[in-house]
Symmetry: C2
Subunit: 231 residues, 2 copies
């Protein structure tokens, strides 16, 4: 295992108040691991043994129903913590973390959590801020699911992806990891058929350009209108 560089963590919210020796300590306690695309880092219901920081790649947080349907609760982008069950005093993971693309993550055993919180200024505060934000996102999604039509929900989901993990290309903004119609329907409580029809329609209207596992939003502002966001 090559020695990790302190600059990896510098500037990331949970560690932004720390100096280099402190970051060095934290890094030395971590394990780093690479994952292929489409592998589970941990699974719902399993003992929460470690918490994670995504360095590169993208993670989907997934819940599966007893009937086998799955819905995507959340996407994690590089620089974010995930699997932070210990922060909420859970002893099992509430959902499964699956890589959307090849990924690299650091992790620590949960028993270090309380030490980190006590010892490192700002660590707990920033983590709970993250939890608060995710809670807010989840509330927003509940409201969306309860009140909006499928087209609005898919538009909103696409916009969220683009904001969180889009990168500029000549023709618009591209989602930075592979994503299928099925994935999008798992995020919105719909079906791949309906999502496919929507994307086709939007393609005709010049709002998006999509190919297999790959979406570029060419007219974000028009998507905003479709999402029903209030003006």
């Amino acid at each position: 295992m090559p020695k990790l560089d302190e600059s990896l963590l510098t500037g990331l919210p949970p560690f932004s108040l720390l100096d280099r020796p402190q970051i060095r300590e934290i890094l030395d306690l971590s394990v780093s691991q690479r994952y292929d695309a489409g592998t589970a880092i941990f699974r719902e219901g399993h003992d929460a043994e470690r918490f994670y920081l995504l360095l590169d790649g993208f993670i989907r947080v997934i819940k599966t129903t007893p009937e086998g349907e799955q819905i995507i609760a959340l996407h994690i982008a590089p620089g974010q913590l995930f699997g932070i069950a210990p922060a909420l005093r859970r002893d099992t993971y509430p959902a499964t973390a699956m890589t959307a693309s090849e990924s690299l993550a650091l992790s620590w055993p949960v028993r270090l959590w309380d030490g980190f919180s006590a010892k490192y200024e700002g660590f707990a505060t920033e983590c709970y801020r993250t939890v608060g934000e995710r809670l807010g996102e989840m509330q927003t999604r509940i409201v969306e699911l309860a009140t909006q039509a499928v087209e609005q929900r898919v538009a909103a989901a696409l916009l969220r992806l683009v904001n969180q993990s889009g990168r500029r290309v000549e023709t618009g903004i591209e989602i930075a990891f592979p994503i299928t119609r099925q994935n999008l329907s798992d995020m919105t409580g719909s079906t791949l058929h309906t999502v496919s029809r929507l994307l086709s329609a939007w393609e005709r209207d010049g709002i998006v350009h999509s190919t297999r596992k790959h979406i570029v939003v060419t007219a974000p502002h028009r998507l905003v209108l479709l999402s029903g966001a209030q003006g």
Copy 2:
């Protein structure tokens, strides 16, 4: 204001590890207030100035869409904290808290939060446990909304209410606060018409007995079947 009694807080999760003098301190810093049924204790978007503990009554936590539709995110029962924005480092309330019945709550200014966490053993831990549970509930509701039919969602909502705040009566289990068809539809992303039809059907089948603002579940086990909970 009459002097409050320490026994009010004894045994409640956030304070269960504290002794009487400590509880006395906390109580002396609190303000207690009575609210009529149907009044807002705080509103979405307003500055989070205080956090609350419900002593008696019931609270609905509500989000309103820009279009004016509202959905009920959560019910709070006596003994639970609410408005705990400071725990998640938010400076505004993410939702509105409305009394479902006449209620009594204690509250403290948010600036005391960090002090409580630092000084009182178990306070922060228990609060974050609560946050974790609510997060889990919200995830469950997202999955429900995304995958289940209306009948299942309403059945599940009713069961949740009955578990959280039901009281035994001769004929079954009664929801301990006033609740309308509209409320139930606001919890499930449906309409009062559809909920009314469902309750009528269930009444015919002997599963519930309901009158205006008042529901008794007479056959909880049959509701469980309807809710699609896995057996």
